[in-house]
Amino acid sequence: MKKTINQIIDGLFTNNPVLVQLIGMCPTLATSTSLNNAIGMGLAAAFVLICSNIVISLLRKLIPSKVRIACYIVVIAGFVTVLDLLMQAYLPDLSVSLGMYIPLIVVNCIILARAEAFASKNGVFASMIDGLAMGLGFTFALCLLASIREIIGAGTIYGIPLFGANYQPVTMIVQAPGGFLCLGFLIAAFQVVIKKVKGRKS
């Protein structure tokens, strides 16, 4: 049990895929324009990450190393399409707000990176926990970034206007440059916090 908690903390803070490892940048920057997008994208990515980690760690002994990337990515793409179809059929409104981002999950580097680095080397349970940890880490970082960008860039949080009518939102923050800028500052702040926490612990 102790190892699982460590893995979760590791995925959320010390080894956060977005803020520390800096993978999964494309969906992070693309979908962090509003909080509900971020939550939807984070949970969808987490779901695919957990399922693909389980399946890949099950198959890890059968896949020859030369075709490992092709096999992993086909499994991941399969899960994403299944998720997309199921959402369109049974959760139509969520699928509308997330429609464009679901195919983006296939090329979310986190999933292949975790499959390649972790799931292909460890047991099923450990890989599932790692998928959960990395998924939570990804969602946590995404929501953090999305709330910053939405508050400054659109003056709302989860769609609720905060500053009344006369607030002139900084639209650049919601556009492309804002993504890079806010993520840069967020990672800098995160590194300072982690250094402080590590400093106090050692």
């Binding site: 800096l22 993978i23 999964g24 940048m25 494309c26 969906p27 920057l29 693309a30 030369k66 075709v67 990337i69 092709a70 990515i73 086909v74 991941i76 793409a77 399969g78 994403v80 399409t81 997309d84 179809l85 195919p103 983006l104 296939v106 090329v107 979310n108 580097c109 999933i111 292949l112 990176a113 390649e116 650049m172 556009q175 492309a176 440059p177 804002g178 993504g179 890079f180 800028l181 993520l183 840069g184 500052f185 990672i187 800098a188 702040a189 590194q191 300072v192």
Partner: protein
């Protein structure tokens, strides 16, 4: 395919809708490999090659297989299988022919597979209903756009080594802030279109 439409398509792919600074596709290798300009050039060329070949193969497969058999939902899986196999092939090719570039690219070569730009361009060719020549041209030009962006960025990053900035911004944060400034510059191109 008049010359003007070729020009406007390439202009759009390289400047107006640059894959990195405007469309946010292909950021992981963009941040990872841009520490030194020579690896950045190597990565850029590999991406151009994979993008061009991938989108020509995906166009053919999509046009003659998926559309004919009405299997549109299989698009993502088929495209990503094609791209993954192509990248694996490039990996084998580089390991044998240019080992130094292979070692320099390291982990980022398999990550080209998940490079959103390559799959992105394949899917965009389908949504924009480009014909064969247009898709190959669009893919090649977006690859060129990717390479220009990564070379621009890596040269700036090499100068960052000797700049004064707060310790907390060490490494990626300062790179991201620089990328946002470059992205503002690219936003300036948005109004530009020939026809």
């Amino acid at each position: 395919m008049t010359f003007a439409s070729i020009l406007s398509l390439s202009l759009a792919a390289i400047l107006v809708q640059n894959f990195i600074f405007v469309k946010f596709l292909g950021i992981c290798p963009f941040l990872g490999v841009s520490k030194k300009t020579d690896t950045a050039v190597g990565m850029g060329l590999a991406v151009i090659f994979v993008m061009t070949v991938a989108s020509s193969v995906t166009y053919i497969v999509n046009e003659f297989v998926l559309v004919k058999l009405d299997l549109m939902y299989m698009q993502t899986v088929v495209f990503i299988l094609i791209i993954a196999s192509l990248v694996q092939f490039v990996e084998l090719f580089l390991m044998k022919m240019i080992p130094s570039l292979y070692k320099a690219l390291g982990i980022y070569l398999p990550l080209i597979t998940t490079n959103c730009a390559v799959l992105g361009v394949a899917l965009l060719n389908v949504t924009n209903q480009y014909n064969f020549i247009e898709s190959v041209l669009y893919a090649c030009m977006s690859g060129v756009g990717f390479t220009i962006a990564i070379i621009l960025f890596s040269s700036v990053r090499e100068h960052l080594e000797y700049a004064k900035y707060p310790k907390a911004f060490e490494g990626f944060p300062i790179a991201l802030v620089t990328a946002s400034l470059l992205s503002i510059a690219f936003m300036g191109f948005q109004g530009l279109s020939i026809f």
